[in-house]
Symmetry: D2
Subunit: 366 residues, 4 copies
């Protein structure tokens, strides 16, 4: 209950600081009999890994994950899965100034206010390094979804805006995502961003972004209505990612400008005894329960506060200081937030899938 | 874990359907010794109560709350507080058509998909009637905040946009809020909305809105970082309110368009050994922990799907039907969502206050 | 997390004091589509009801339960079930002395130490009156077990010792249970107890007891090993009942005196592809998971501390006083603890059944 | 919620199998600023470590614990504490027979029934090896108790019976505990046990035991009454330890034989404005809340089922087999259960201390 765990039935707990010896997590509640190996997790960690282009931080971490428990002869046993990643490139001296003053826009001040003590090396626990374990847990969640849901669930994310430049949705191409440094589904906009981000980086500044995640194949019926609505849990999951300041589902804030007849998705018989929706303003969720349509969520990522431009702040001793953050940083943290957002969506869906099965049955063991 | 409870240490559980005999809740974890009576709760229920202007549903509920337990001689005893409201104006016949087909934009289809059964009277459990208990629990949360935090915590909400018409923030006046039917802090815009909503209502349509809530006086240090960040729990709390499709904190989605030096709030010594922030783009939360500044959150409320305009849908028997919803509805549910949003913010803060005290101490019993 | 709820997926929360206007509970997580009416709950409440023989307290409560939500047209809808019982026979004056001094053996002192305030009327929240809601929730749990487990689960309890007089297990007859005032499966011993308890009651004293509960039909595989072992949760459930001071499973404390070859239950093929156990020292649980054999648990119930014999104590003002408790009390609270123990076992099993289904599948919706 | 975590505010989660690469845990919710190093944990692990006398299993594990996170410059930071122990002496071949048949009295059958798969090496997750992490978490809990409670809390355990031979309580001497191989407070009985256990071990058998744990210094007021009573959580904690079949508090099962006036502890003024109890039949807990007296609990530990005497069982293929368990085993697992029981009691108290502080305040940060 101190906030380092996520989920109820599919539940994982993380630990570790940016510059400690290792980070890790325990994934509990995984159904038994699911094939699982490090090779199922590593590719997602590799997507999030720093230092892969000039547009992300130059910290270089191998981020090699080890499975310490919960798997026997290549299959999950139903017991907790311990995952561990050793930290290898900490360079503590880069961050020595953090100890003495509060970086504006960072958690330095609030950790100090809350705990009266903090690990300043690389931001300690508040560092985005923790998100590596989210990605690892998310990879396990994907395996659960694919094992339990017939046909599997595809979860993909994309960066859809950087600063004032949003993508052109008419050019959306999932195949483009792996062909640029931005997880951008619009190749043309990606090229524009590359130029723009070069300039921002060189000026020592940073920029915000919007990330969109989509889950296809999730069955209708997921979500525990009222307080644990599927969208409420997605909102919590995404807002818990470092630097996120806003979350929306389907039309999101645009829904505030619509009329009832514009917003409500009409239905018709699908000819197979079921229902077909004629639009998806709802983003795949009604009354907190999935409709069977694609689940669509977006999140706003603020610009990194670690910049080379001096900013006014206060020292631990209470004196006025100027702070600028040297070292290795992401000029647009929205980029590396894409695999993290995918992972969180996977975790929410895996959890609600098991919760639904617990209360309502269905989804037999394969 | 079936989603009808909210919070961890300050935790409440609700029950009840729109047209059942009563709705109620149990508020658990309230500190002992706090003065509490029905008169502390009723005013907030009265703010949310339907039928108070032509702009809200004409259903008339007295919404009289009874305290059934947990209070002795006017003070809380630390035992659970049972709260009950009898339903008095159900008029079931208004809703008889819901049983036979799925209203577009409503939870009819998803409840049926999840449970295979649903109470169609007034939408049953998916009705916004449940939010009355949120407001009641929120009133208790306010008492907790005011008893434990020196100086108290003031939580206020406002509707800041209806459809395309946002307020002019230069005219923000908290005193205006109680002087119009919209909880609008800008009297001029409120007048415009009144005209517009009359037209929308008469046309049988509905419109979306944006609601903002602000907490002043919350101390620095609240929030359990990583997964139970204060903003993550606020996001979940607000997104769990009926019809909400987006949540943002501080700059929110606008942060995606900013540079690092524009977004990060600078600090200076406050002359009393503490820190003064020079701006509040963060909305009072950094790294998931409160800064001591005002906490600012907004939510997007979709237009009511209950409209008089016929929409395509499907019957329980699987046939194509047209649905239009007669009966008493809110043309803009954003209005009555204001006291609900305030209540949810109060509950999140009370919970995190007790959680903080549990782990870190401080805030001695009065 | 303030201790007024029990269970994870099948979870109920209770409220109410001995002499408040009502007691109640919310049962959350019940699978949809299960037939449920007040008539399914009332018989179990009637078994627990006071005033049914000269051997239990003469307080007379109708204990009529009302279902306020979660049921539509006679079936559960998957939404929370609100249950309410009005208190009708409070007679507060009987208990006026409790306010001024601490009754030995009661929770008066500890509630005061914890909360600094307490509702003294009838012991307030610490009264065994709360157990009526356990019995009500247990009745719902039985319905869940019977709906989900093929063949159903039979849960029965018995008083097996009173003071120094244990039953003769060779005479165990479940049919005898309803034919005496003690839920005693040994008619001969029941007659002995009746004489003995008359004498104890007339002397103003009270006596302890041992209660045994047995669940037959629970499938193999229930229990979440390590911390939420099935026996660990049963131990917590039974120990949480008022006046219980010990819990054991199967051989229980007798296992401490056995050799490995005496205690471990041998197995043989059952001829149907499964396993037959040759004994049940384990009480139906191995490694925290049910074996499919009958689940057997016992609990020790202390003698009521409400007695007519003066005892030394201390007043609220800190002075030495003598306390004796007039009013209506149970000379042997073990008797009325039998239906409560049954209910708790039912709740544990229903919860673990849904938890098992969530993680491992199986038990399809009927 | 799959059962691998314990506690609410002070909450730890474990992972690891007997013969996997490592076991570990995450301790979450620890207050900040508490001195903590491996040297605070290792001595308790050393007490539990196998192979220290001829009376325990000859498996040899260094059991060296590493702190991976949550501590900075020797003090806790309030962030999760990751703990890791590498397994070094697995000898898998000793256990190869387990894979093919179900050992009587073990969890082999039930894990297979629940999960359809199990790690047979050394019993996998069901091995008592997991209890090393309980002891590690318990050592952290002790630090929390000592930091928050003025004067600290002393938690000690002892083996008080082995088979039919109970200690003579008149000879109880805490100093004797470290002077024999049994954690026995009665040197004379310890000598008797040594002779007896040699014979049992040589005959290939095993024997049960009773363990008692006592906490001195715990303040009055701990415990969340009704379902999370302090004794209910202790019962769960102890019953969750491998091989435990019974738990009792204070008089325990003996209370069932007492009269009310014998059992209820009388009180008198302590001359300092407080209360002094004249006896402690209650074992330090009334109404689920601590009284301030020593908290006393006992647990029954069954004889190890791993014995050299052939027992009837069934193979995975469903055929009748005889099973005898070679390899290294404890002839009396009660011995090594003593430090585990102490650890669990420490964890329950630390958790309830923080829970109490959260709801009721008090216990300021040092």
């Amino acid at each position: 209950m101190a906030g380092n765990a996520f989920g109820t039935l599919f539940r994982y707990t993380t630990f570790g600081e940016s510059h400690g010896p290792a980070i890790g997590c325990v994934v509990d509640g995984v159904p038994p009999g699911i094939p699982l190996a490090e090779a199922d997790i590593q590719p997602f960690l590799d997507k999030r890994r720093p230092g892969q282009s000039r547009h992300t931080t130059q910290r270089r971490e191998a981020d090699l994950v080890r499975i310490l428990s919960g798997v026997y002869e290549g299959r999950t046993t139903g017991t907790p899965i311990g995952l561990l990643i050793e930290n290898t490139d900490q360079r503590s001296k880069d961050y020595s100034n953090i100890a003495e003053s509060f970086r504006p826009g960072h958690a330095d001040f609030t950790y100090q206010a809350k705990y009266g003590i903090r690990d300043p090396r690389g931001g300690g626990r508040s560092s985005a390094r923790e998100t590596a374990m989210r990605v690892a847990a998310g990879a396990v969640a994907r395996k659960v979804l694919d094992a339990v849901v017939p046909g599997g669930v595809a979860i993909r994310g994309a960066m859809v805006a950087m600063g004032d430049h949003a993508i052109d949705r008419a050019r959306w191409d999932w195949a483009a995502i792996d062909a640029n440094d931005f997880f951008c589904p619009d190749a043309e906009t990606a090229a524009l961003w590359a130029t723009e981000l070069d300039a921002i980086r060189k000026s020592g500044s940073s920029i915000g972004a919007v990330v969109e995640v989509v889950a296809e194949g999730a069955p209708a019926g997921l979500g525990a209505p009222v307080y644990d609505k599927l969208d409420a849990d997605i909102a919590k999951a995404l807002m818990s990612i470092n630097a996120v300041k806003g979350v929306e589902i389907g039309e999101g804030f645009a829904a505030a400008t619509l009329r009832g007849e514009e917003n409500a998705d009409e239905m018709e018989p699908d000819g197979k005894g079921g229902v077909r929706f004629l639009s998806n303003h709802a983003g795949g969720i009604l009354g907190g329960i999935s409709t069977g349509q694609p689940i669509v969520a977006r999140m706003a990522v603020k610009p990194t506060s670690s910049i080379l431009i001096p900013r006014k702040s206060v020292s631990l001793a209470g004196e006025a200081v100027d702070v600028l953050t040297r070292g290795r940083h992401d000029p647009c943290v929205g980029i590396r937030a894409v695999p993290v957002a995918e992972a969180m969506l996977a975790c929410v869906l895996a959890d609600h899938l098991l919760r639904h099965r617990g209360q309502c049955g269905g989804f037999p063991a394969p």
